[in-house]
Amino acid sequence: MIQLSVNSLSKSFDSIQVLSSLSFHVNKGEFVSVIGPSGSGKSTIFNLIGGMLLPDEGSIMLGEAEISGKRGSISYMPQTPSLMPWRTILQNVLLGQEIMGKTEPETARKMLQKAGLGGYENAFPHELSGGMKQRTAFIRALLSPQPIILLDEPFSALDELTRHDMQKWLLDIWNEHKPTILFVTHNIEEAIYLSDRILILGSKPAKVVQEYTVPFARPRMEEIFLDEKFLECKRSIHHALKELSFKSD
């Protein structure tokens, strides 16, 4: 079942075309990554899906409903944790639900417990490390009632070790709740390790130039990083991206 579908979307800013007939879809319970050179209009795609911008052409469907220009239709985890410094961790993870109407503090407590944030419910964000803040932001997105989560390069600001921990943690959580996720990243390994499908985005104007189905079964272990097949995947995605940057130069 298709959860989110983006149909021949076009968008220009001051005669510079950023997106040109971009189409893709995300199935229910699927983890889809979008990878592309920087400046390929990824944040424009997010702002369009999030309803912050209106497309010039094309439509965005969530299930059966058209959501172009409708804010609050998707759940969102930004690049920075964007936690409110005056709210405790518990109040922060409930914010998404609060905006949409109903809060479930008990579910939130349990989820914080499982996410390794037990005991921090009443702490303030500045007392947490970078990785913990990102976990909080992800749980906030997970608790929000919308059927799909958009993640915008959530681990790009973390150091390598923390980033790796976070990827593993995200996979665990995903296995448990199976949310539908659209994930934007720069990191090829991250995309292969986490997702079911990878969309490779060409830049100026952005469109999907290649779609790549990740050949690993779930649940995935860390060992796949060293697998021959993993390197092969990485190589072919790398080549695809390289070709793109040649073209744009």
Partner: protein, 255 residues
């Protein structure tokens, strides 16, 4: 508390030194008391003239607290209206700045002409000096919300009201308290000025009477009282800030 003593002993020592110098030079040069009384005279007057001074002090405390409360309310209300209605902000904000350039000393007698000698013109004077710092501080706080938090709130579907109550208002609190601290000290000054115009009691009245009868020691007692009162109000605001803004005080405490 220990910290206060550790940091506070230096200015206290300087102050004490100044008082000793003052006392000595007044005595050595035989300056008459109506021109400049020595500190001991002032302390003597403060202690033994207390019964005569207390009703004046009481009246001023009450007046400045009332004025401060009204000024705070109006200041906040103005900030919220100007913030939520950009059209009004654009047309009124410049006038608001102009209004602050009208000297209160000039305006005060006019207010008496219009509203008489009751409490109303006095409250208007205090409100006029109080509300502006609060409005400016709150407006800045409302408008300078971090872009990432605003973007998250909008993506999450926050309506205008939610954006205000959940993001802009809490974010403006530290800035708002800076405004409150300024206004608190202004309110005492405003009260004294408004009492000069004509009142039955108050530090302003006490001061006018004292200076016209050359009781310079009493003028100094009044000055001392005004300073203490401002300091006390300031301290009260500081305390409520600590209690209300827990996330900030701890954060800066760490650095």
């Amino acid at each position: 508390m220990i910290n206060v003593f550790r940091k506070g002993w230096r200015p206290a020592a300087v102050l004490l030194l100044l008082f000793i110098l003052w006392e000595l030079s007044v005595n050595l040069a035989e300056v008459p008391a109506w021109l400049l009384p020595p500190p001991t005279d002032i302390i003597h007057e403060a202690v033994f003239g207390w019964d005569g001074f207390r009703p004046h002090l009481q009246s001023t405390v009450l007046l400045s607290l009332r004025g401060f409360a009204i000024g705070t309310f109006i200041g906040l209300l103005t900030a919220v209206i100007l913030h939520l209605l950009p059209f009004i902000r654009e047309s009124v904000y410049p006038l608001l700045i102009l209004s602050q350039n009208v000297p209160i000393i000039v305006l005060a007698p006019l207010l008496v002409v219009w509203f008489g000698f009751g409490i109303l013109p006095k409250l208007i004077v205090i409100t006029l000096v109080c509300f502006f710092p609060i409005t400016v501080a709150a407006l800045d706080g409302f408008r300078q919300t971090p872009a990432d938090l605003r973007h998250y709130m909008l993506m999450a579907g926050a309506r205008r009201g939610q954006l205000f109550w959940k993001l802009e208002l809490p974010h403006s609190l530290p800035s708002l308290f800076s405004g409150l601290k300024i206004s608190a000290t202004y309110s005492v000054m405003g009260a004294v000025i408004s009492e000069w115009l004509g009142a039955k009691a108050g530090i302003g009245v006490y001061m006018t009477l004292a200076s016209s009868s050359f009781r310079t020691d009493r003028v100094f007692v009044a000055i001392l009282a005004i300073m203490l009162l401002s300091l006390l109000l300031f301290g009260g605001i500081l305390l409520s800030e600590r209690l209300l803004i827990k996330w900030k005080s701890r954060e800066s405490g760490r650095k």
